[in-house]
Structure formats: C-alpha cells, structure tokens
C-alpha cells in the first residue's frame, strides 16, 4: 500500500462510501415495501344488506370532524378538556364517547389510511408523510374504503381541511378546499379556512351533500409548538366545541325533518407529553372518538368530564379502524375489503332485533374470513378455522359474545401479520455494506499499521469503540436509550484520551475538567430517550420558570458568537479596502473595520430579534427588559401589539416572522459569500474554516429552539478547552495520525452526545418541526427539508465543522492569530492526505454501525418493535450516514478545504 498514490487511495475511499450508501438505500427499498392489499371492492356476502333497518339506513348523512392530534383527554378529562358542549351531549346520552387506539406510526397520513380503509399502516406511509408532497402513489383510488363505498351509493361528499385527504382521494370529493398541514406555526388561519365554509354548507338552500368531512389542524400545530399545556389549547378547544355545537344544531333541525345526521368527532392520533407524535406512547396512540347524533339515547354511566387518567384512556377503548365497519353498518354499505375493524358494540344497540345484530356480526366475520383465507390456508391457525365453521353452522347457537371473541382473535392475527419484505434487495444491500465495512477496515488498519505505535494503539481503541457501540443496535431498549450509551462512551473516551495521549499536568487537568463540566451541563439540558422524562432539566427551568435568565443567556450566546466572528477569523481583513500590512491605521482600513462590524452586528441582531419574535409568537411573554427590542421590531414593520387571540394580529406576526427570518438568512448568506469572494480576491485563504463555522453558527443558533441556544456557549467552551489541549499536545510532540484519530473520536462523541442532549431521540416523535418554516410561507419540499435537517442536526453540523477547525486552524480557535501561520491549513500537500485519513476514520465508524444495524433489522424483522424502534432508527441512521457523514463531513468540508480555500 505504501506505493499507492494518493489519487488511488481517494478513489478507493469514494468507492467505499458509495458502496456504503448504495447498500443502505438498497436495503431500504427491500425493507420498506408497499403493503400488499387485496384488490377489488367489498360486497355484501349474502347479496342483501344486513344493515338496513326497515329498508332504510340508520343515518342519511354523516359529518366526520377530524381534529388533528385530539388526544382522548382533550375531550373527556376534567383537567385538560374545555369542550363543555361535548360534555353536555355525553351526559344527555346524545354522544357515545370512546377512546380510539390509533396504530403507530401516529402520523396523519397513515392514520387517515387507517380510518378510511380500516387497514393497519405500514411504515413507508410515515416516511412519505414527512417526505414527499407531490407523490401521487399514495392515492387510495384503487383501494376499498368507506369513501369509495359511500360514493358508490350515489352520495356526494364535501371536504374541507388538511389536504392529505385530497392526496389520498383525488377527485373523490364534490366540493373541496385543502389546507396544508406542514405550516405548523399557524394556529388560527388553518382552522378559519375550514370553518368559514360551514355557513354555506350548513344551509340547506345553498348546499347539498350526504357526507361532510372537516379536518382541523390548529390543535396539532399548537401541540408541536407549545405542547399539550400551551396557553392556546383552551381557546382552540373552545373553538372546536363551538364548531361541534353548530354541527349538532344542524343535526337537530335535520332530525325534525326525518333526516338523521351522524356526527363523528375524532382525533387522527394523540400527542405525547411535549406535544409531538409519531411513535407509540400512550398519549400518542389514545385519540378521542365520539359518535354524536340527536338520534342516540345512550346511557353513559360516567358523567363527563372524567377525572384525569394517566394512561389517557376514558370510557371504553376501541380501535380507530373500528370506525370503518361501524360506518358501513350505520350508513348501509358493504364493509371495505381490507378493513380489520370490528363493528363497535355500543353502536350495535341501534338495531333492536337480536337476529339482526347477529347478521351484522356475521357480515363482519365473513369479510374478515375473506382476508384471512387469502393470507393463511387451512393448515395454520386451526382453532380459528374450527371456530369459523361453528359460527357458520346454523345448528349451533352462537351468542353475540362468541362473535366478538372470534372477531377479536382474527383481528389480532391479521393486524400482526408482517409485511412482505423484499429479501433480494435486503440481502444485496446488506452484502454491500458488509463489503464496504470489511474493505474500510482493511484500508484503515493497513494505514495505521504503518504509522507510529501510539497512533496504531489509538486506532485499535477507535475500532473497538465502534464495534462495542454498534452492538447496541441488537437491543430495542438500548436504541431507545442511546443517549446513555453516548454519555458512557464520551466519558470513557475522554478519560482514555486524557491518560494515554495527553501529558498529565495541572494545566491539562484544568482544561479536561472544563470539558467535563461542559458535557455535564449539556447532559442536564434536555430529556432524551423513552424511559425517563423529568422536569429537572435546564431547558424546562429556563423555558417555564426563568425567562429572564433564558434571554440573558441567549443574548450572551449571540454576543459571544458575534465577537468570535469578528475576532477569531479574518473577516475584518477581508473587508478592509486596503491591505495595510504596515499596521498604519489608515482611514480605509478603519472603514473596512466599520463595514464588517456593521454587517456582522446587523446580521446577528436580526437573527436575535427573530428568535424573540418567534418566542412571542409561540405564546410566551417577552421579558420586560427585551420589550423595547420587540416593540421596535414590531413598529418597524408597522404592526401594533394586540391580543394574541386577534387573528389579524396573528397573521401580521406570522408575516413579520417569515420576513425577518428570511432577512437574517439572506444577511448571513451574504456575509458568507462576501467572505469567500473577498478572500479569493485578496488571497486570504487561511482562516476560511474559522470564518465559515463562525458565520454558520449564527444561522445554527437561529435554527435551534430558543431554550437550546445557550447550549452553544457550552459547546464553545468545550471547543476552546479541547483546542488548548490539542495545541499543547502538538507542541509536546504527537504525530499527525494520532491527532487525526484524537480529533475523530472527539468529534464523533461530541456530535452524538450533543445531538441527544438537544432533546433528540431515535423516535420519530421528536423530529422537531418548530424551526422548519423559518422564513418560508408555504410548504415546499426542498427548503423545508433542509431547514428540518438543520434544526434537528444543529449539533452534528456544528461539531463536524468544529472538528475541521480544531484540526486545521487551532490557533484561531484560541484567538491567537499570530500563530496562525503554523496551522495545518497552510500546508497544502498535507490537506489532501490528512483529509483522506480523516474521512477513512469516520467511515470505519459508520460502516461498522451500518453492518450491525442492518443485520439487526434482518434478524429482528418479525420483532414486535420493528416498526416503532428499529425502523425509525434506520431512518435516523440514514440521515447520519448520508447527510452528516457524506454531505457535511465530506462534501461541505471538501468544498471549504479545496474550493473556498
């Protein structure tokens, strides 16, 4: 290998990365296949409908009111529900309340598929819900659903609300208006856009429909932004309650005209303790589901509202997909073919005759057995087949209970049936990652074997660390609590480094203790993982108990960042008009100083003002001492402060937020561009990494949650202390390969530790969307995707760039520009080879991890948690591997080192 040229080694390295990523993608194609469903549409099994009561359906019209993220307690609990009208209806017996279990992933698109077709979702639906808006393959036109069946009766359906429905059922609704579900910072407009149609739709002269679907998004947005206890929750519930009142009044007048109207009020999923959803915690899976009509006379034993229930379960629990056969029964059409729902028992009471109840249940059983026999032949599940022949036998008397038991059993088997994996793709993908990992390990070891003994030892430690770390992919609870692993490995690695690579003396001990204090602080900042959640976190304290301190720290963070841009890098030199090397304080140079100072100061103050406005917009009070800034920003945009409940004011605030975020983004981009261009012209190439990272940090601050911004102070402290240590090592004599390994270990540990300490987990529920729309008016895949990635991966991006800076420009980190000429960045022959080794070292980590993760997913593909734990981890890992390791660590770093330099 010694004779292999640098170019060849680069080609090998790129091939390895290519194989690694290709393997991952191929595995994904095989692991997340589309679900196999029975083609065709359901029919009545005996030719005639068992559902009709005296030849007529139970209900003539149906209104389905979906309130996004309506958790069961928002409807029923004493503490969290403010829906007084609904409580009255329940107590009068006009509403039949349930807690509806929504199958994970608890994201809107798969849930809508569930409550229309009655099927259980597959994981791909969850990804597509977040990823692709323009994809038409999600349409349910070819799949049986109650929408299809109802339309087939010649009925018309109007739809207003979340446009996910329009994606699912293009052209099926007669009158529509869709609103986009992704603009989460808007609480009011999305819902007003739905409600304003009611005046027309509830007027018999103006509108004729048989089905009306309303999907309200505001409550979900409030959850994402402010959590279930947000100040906006109460007015929003009251608003929903008043909508329900209007619908019920309409149903009452219809009832007098002998036209029965059924209202279904439901959440498509719930939300967890912090207002997010996507995973499978009790809060997320327990949504409200109420059937409401003046026709009902259901005795509810428990009077609403009920006492708070810790597991969010109120009244009887049903599955959300049970809605599908129930609607089929109530509206009199065949049960959709792929439905796994069971007719809800309480509503069966509407049919008085026992015989008809049994006929209805038999219809449900028949529909189940069609599905069951398509998937399982007679040799499997003998007890089911035996029970089925008993039920069919007219001589054996079977009770209603028998039917329900049978249905539950079959439902259980059908719902847990695994999806069909594409094994060819999975194994090929796995094989590719294995090959990539093996060859990477060979190149890694053969390289370090030729280097000094110390760097070889460190390389061994690194490999061992990567292997032991990646073993955790084989345990579901270890994946859920990965933040603990990273804490353990970070502390272990730092202690190992401190004792083996660094001199043991007082100064170093001091800097190491600074680092340990730093990581201990960030560990206490947020909750992570599934097991523990406490309010003893710094972010909770800052957000809920001490907003003065929060904003003081935020201000300091912005100040320090600004000072660092100004003092660490070379932006001032770049922007000064003359190259005044003699140190003469010419007016021109001062003008340059002034220009750069103004630019940087303006950019960071705009960014800071944006965070203040965003804070206010999310329903918090801006601290008194910052009010002047806030008012000044408002007045410069000609906005008067009014109550937050005033919709006009909300819109103005939103527009303001969008334009101010955009302005600050452009400003930061402009400064970056200016630095690159001016640096090229004036040939000030060194210092580029420092300037790039400092200016980008400003944008990363803007993409962080406001309660996480002060964490960057700690990051900067850790970076400073670590650079001090690295510089002392450089002076004392450590070879360059050892240094690469030290920096790689440090970077990987800090990237992951900070990622989890920012409040991220390996569950889809914590994907933070609150900064995904900074400066964006409507949903657009690319910018929203980029912003979502940045806001969730601020820490990995920050540490990736910092790793480069610590390695190549340590003197600048230490504000010591006199020594900057000795920094490694200046040795151009070294940059290429060092960067190659660094990229090889990080690939070792990702390649070993990929082999274990994919292996574990293949091994545990029938595991209970495969869709709730392992699949989200796969997605996170793909983001780490492709976006962080390939895009930021490699492409961005390459551009900075070799193009901008």
């Amino acid at each position: 290998m010694g004779s292999t040229s640098l170019a060849t080694r680069w080609v090998v390295q790129l091939l390895l990365i290519g194989a690694h990523i290709a393997g991952l993608l191929l595995f994904f194609r095989g692991f997340f296949p589309s679900k196999v469903v029975l083609p065709g549409f359901g029919n009545f099994h005996n030719g005639a409908s068992p559902f009709a009561e005296r030849g007529k359906p139970q209900f003539d019209k149906v209104i389905v009111m979906v309130v996004d993220a309506m958790r069961a307690d928002f409807c029923y609990s004493q503490e969290h529900s403010h829906m007084t009208f609904l409580h009255e209806l329940i107590n009068d017996g006009k509403a039949v309340p349930f807690t509806g279990f929504s199958h994970p992933p608890t994201v809107t698109l798969p849930r809508l598929k569930g409550i229309t077709t009655g099927g259980t979702p597959n994981f791909l639906d969850a990804i597509l819900n977040v990823a692709d808006d323009k994809d038409q393959s999600q349409g349910l036109l070819s799949q049986d659903s109650w929408i299809y069946q109802y339309k087939k009766l010649g009925k018309s359906i109007n739809f207003y609300g979340d446009d996910t429905w329009l994606k699912l059922f293009p052209g099926q609704f007669d009158k529509v208006e869709g609103t986009n579900s992704f603009f989460v910072s808007d609480f009011t407009e999305v819902d007003l856009n739905v409600t304003r149609h009611l005046t027309e739709e509830l007027d018999r002269q103006q509108s004729r429909w048989d089905g009306l679907i309303l999907h309200y998004l505001g409550l979900d947005h409030i959850g994402h932004k402010g959590g279930p206890n947000s100040v906006f929750m109460k007015p929003k519930q009251e608003e929903m309650d008043s909508v329900l009142r209007r619908l019920y009044e309409y149903a009452e007048t219809s009832q007098k005209r002998k036209e029965s109207v059924l209202i279904v009020l439901m959440g498509d999923h719930g939300m967890n303790e912090i207002g997010n959803h996507g995973a499978s915690s009790v809060g997320e899976t327990n949504a409200a589901l109420s059937f409401i009509s003046p026709k009902f006379n259901h005795k509810n034993e428990q009077k609403a509202p009920l006492a708070d229930s810790p597991d969010y379960s109120y009244y009887s629990s049903v599955s959300q997909i049970d809605l599908v056969p129930t609607l089929a029964g109530l509206l009199n059409f065949p049960i959709p073919k792929n439905s796994l729902g069971i007719i809800i028992r309480e509503l069966l009471e509407l049919w008085p005759s026992e015989k008809q109840k049994l006929a209805i249940l038999m219809e449900n059983c028949n529909q189940f057995m069609d599905l069951f026999s398509a998937k399982h032949d007679k040799s499997e599940h003998l007890d089911v087949w035996e029970k089925w022949s008993q039920l069919q036998d007219s001589k054996v008397v079977s009770s209603i209970d028998d039917h329900f038991d049978f249905l539950l059993k079959v439902q259980d088997i059908l719902a847990s049936a695994a999806t069909n994996y594409n094994y060819d793709d999975m194994w090929t993908g796995f094989a590719l990652t294995v090959v990539s990992a093996v060859v990477t390990l060979i190149t890694f070891n053969s390289y370090f074997l030729k280097q000094s003994e110390n760097s070889f030892k460190l390389a061994q430690y690194f490999q061992l660390f990567a292997i032991v770390y990646s073993l955790h992919f084989h345990g579901s609870s270890l994946i859920e609590e990965e933040h603990q692993l990273w804490w353990f490995f970070t502390v272990l690695s730092f202690v190992y480094l401190a004792f083996t690579c660094f001199v043991l003396n007082r100064t170093n001990a001091f800097y190491w203790s600074l680092i340990f204090i730093g990581i201990r602080i960030i560990r206490s900042w947020n909750n992570s993982g599934q097991k523990y959640s406490s309010s003893n976190t710094i972010s909770y304290y800052l957000l809920n108990e001490n907003s003065d301190l929060l904003w003081a720290l935020n201000l300091i963070t912005y100040l320090v960042t600004t000072v660092a841009i100004f003092a660490q890098g070379r932006i001032v030199e770049c922007l000064s008009i003359l190259n005044d090397s003699q140190g003469r304080n010419s007016d021109f140079q001062q003008a340059g100083n002034l220009l750069s100072f103004v630019l940087i100061f303006v950019a960071s103050s705009i960014s800071f003002s944006f965070k203040v406005c965003q804070y206010y917009n999310d329903g918090y009070d801006v601290p008194g001492w910052l009010n002047f800034l806030f008012k000044w920003v408002l007045s410069s945009y000609d906005v008067d402060i009014k109550s937050l409940n005033d919709p006009d004011f909300k819109f103005q605030l939103q527009d303001l937020n969008i334009s101010i975020a955009r302005l600050s983004g452009y400003f930061i981009l402009g400064i970056l561009g200016l630095r690159i261009v001016a640096g090229k012209i004036k040939k000030l190439s060194s210092g580029i990494i420092t300037d790039m990272i400092n200016i980008s940090t400003l944008y990363l601050l803007q993409q962080s949650k406001y309660e996480n911004i002060p964490m960057f102070l700690t990051f900067m402290l850790i970076k400073f202390a670590f650079t001090k240590l690295v510089v002392s090592v450089q002076v004392k004599g450590v070879d360059i390969d050892q240094l690469i390994a030290i920096c790689a270990i440090f970077t990987i540990c800090m990237q992951n530790l900070s990622f989890f300490c920012l409040g991220n987990t390996n569950s889809l529920a914590t994907v933070d969307l609150s900064n995904a729309y900074n400066g964006i008016k409507s949903y657009d895949v690319i910018p929203v995707g980029v912003l979502t990635f940045l806001s969730n991966f601020v820490a990995p991006v920050y540490w990736s760039l910092s790793g480069l800076q610590i390695f190549f420009e340590p003197s600048r980190v230490l504000f010591n520009s006199e020594l900057a000429s000795k920094d490694l960045i200046n040795f151009s022959f070294l940059r290429k080879s060092v960067f190659l080794v660094k990229s090889n070292v990080t690939l070792v980590f990702y390649a070993i991890a990929a082999v274990n993760l994919l292996g574990s997913c293949i091994n545990l593909r029938f595991h209970l948690f495969i869709w709730t734990v392992f699949s989200p981890k796969l997605l996170y890992f793909a983001s780490w591997s492709v976006l962080v390791n390939f895009f930021v660590d490699l492409v961005v770093a390459f551009v900075i080192l070799f193009i901008f330099y």
């Binding site: 003994e453 353990f488 201990r520 004392k732």
Partner: protein, 230 residues
C-alpha cells in the same frame, strides 16, 4: 509484527522519543513501592455481603452510612497489613515511617478526598437533581476502597503515584503491583457497574448507586487476584 516506526511526513516539533528521555522508565520503576507478599482485599466481599444483609436495597443511604465505621476499621487494618508487607521489602527506605500516623492519616485523608471524588462522580454523570446523599456516601465508600490503600502504599507521595501513568509498559507495572491492580480495577469495576442501571429488568439492586458500589468492591478483589496470577 515488524512495525516500521517510519517518521511521518510531518511531525510537530520534537519526536516522542526525544521527549520521553530513555532514562525515565527505570527511574519511575524504583519510585513505585512493592509489597513482599500479596494482599488481596477479600474483606471487601464481606463488606458487600454485610451491606446487603443490612438491607441495602431498602434503605440505601442509611445502610451506606451505618456501615462506614466497619469500612474505616477494615481500611485501617488493611493499611496496617500494607505497611507490614512493604516494611519487609523496603530495604531502601531507611527513613523510619511513623506507622500509626500513616494509618490514621490515610483514613482521615480518605475521608477528605471523598469530597473531590464526589465532585468527579457528579461530573462523570451522577444525577444532580436527586440522590445527592447516596452519591456522597458512595464517594466516601469508594474513597476508602480506592484511595486508602494507595495512600498507605505511596506514603502520601503524589509524584510517585503520577509517575505510574508516565511509565512505559504501564499495564505490566500496574498488574505487577497488588495494591495498584486492586485499586485501578476497582475504578474499572465502578465504571462497568453503571451498565445494568438503565436496563429494563426492574430489580431493586438496579437502584443508584448499588451497582457502582458492588462493581467497585468486586473489582478490587478481582484486581488483587489478577495481580497474584500475573
């Protein structure tokens, strides 16, 4: 394995061999006192048994506190054994050591050192918002377990102790020394002891800081035993 120690294309100033002057290793070796016969802290197994007998899983803080006198007495006894063992071998040390003072001083210093140890345990990730009493008592126990034998062995000579980590063939040095091995493996034991805590077995002994304490005590015995085998 013929490892070429080829010089790198670039190195930062002096090469490693130039810094660690060749004379270092032998000099350091003489600084580390050795014992004439092995001392394995088997009493620590008794301590663990005693802790559980006193109801460690029910009243953690109380039990840890109540067992401290036992710990101190056993530590002093172990200290005495160490002085005996090193007195036999220590022909070079002509200076007569005040044995009672050394033992009492070590016990006292172990108690004092538990405060910085407490800080270190917190920095290494012990809970901050709760369990502070338990963590502190853990620090006291570990301080007696780890520091006391070292203090007696090195006779309060910090430089001699630090020199252990600067020595070449550090593992051979550590595992060649009964006390060093037992103390440092005890540290490793505490370290490994955190692993069971987050597992979802829901056993009473998974409570903070029982596993760390047991890991430490067992580790010290294992370390001592290893050094005998070595």
């Amino acid at each position: 394995m013929a490892k070429k120690t080829s010089r790198k294309s670039v190195s930062f100033q002096p090469n490693e061999s130039e810094v660690n002057s060749d004379a270092d290793a032998p000099e350091y070796k003489t600084k580390v006192p050795t014992l004439a016969y092995p001392i394995i802290p088997v009493q620590n197994l008794f301590l663990v048994w005693d802790l559980f007998r006193r109801g460690l899983t029910e009243h953690i803080a109380e039990t840890l506190l109540n067992s401290l006198p036992t710990v101190a007495v056993l530590s002093a006894a172990q200290g005495y054994l160490i002085t005996l063992a090193s007195a036999n071998s220590g022909k070079k040390s002509k200076k007569q050591t005040n044995v009672p003072l050394l033992i009492v001083g070590s016990v006292f210093m172990s108690f004092v050192l538990s405060v910085p140890l407490f800080g270190a345990i917190l920095l290494f990730g012990a809970p901050l918002a709760s369990h502070l009493t338990e963590t502190f008592l853990l620090a006291v126990h570990l301080s007696f377990l780890i520091f006391n034998p070292l203090l007696v062995l090195f006779k309060f000579d910090l430089d001699a102790f630090v020199s252990v980590f600067k020595a070449e063939r550090i593992y051979r040095l550590i595992f060649g020394n009964y006390i060093l091995a037992s103390s440092l493996v005890a540290v490793a034991g505490v370290w490994i002891g955190v692993i069971p805590i987050p597992l979802d077995w829901d056993r009473p002994w998974q409570q903070w800081p029982i596993t760390l304490l047991v890991g430490g005590y067992v580790g010290s015995v294992v370390g001592g035993a290893l050094s005998v085998l070595f």
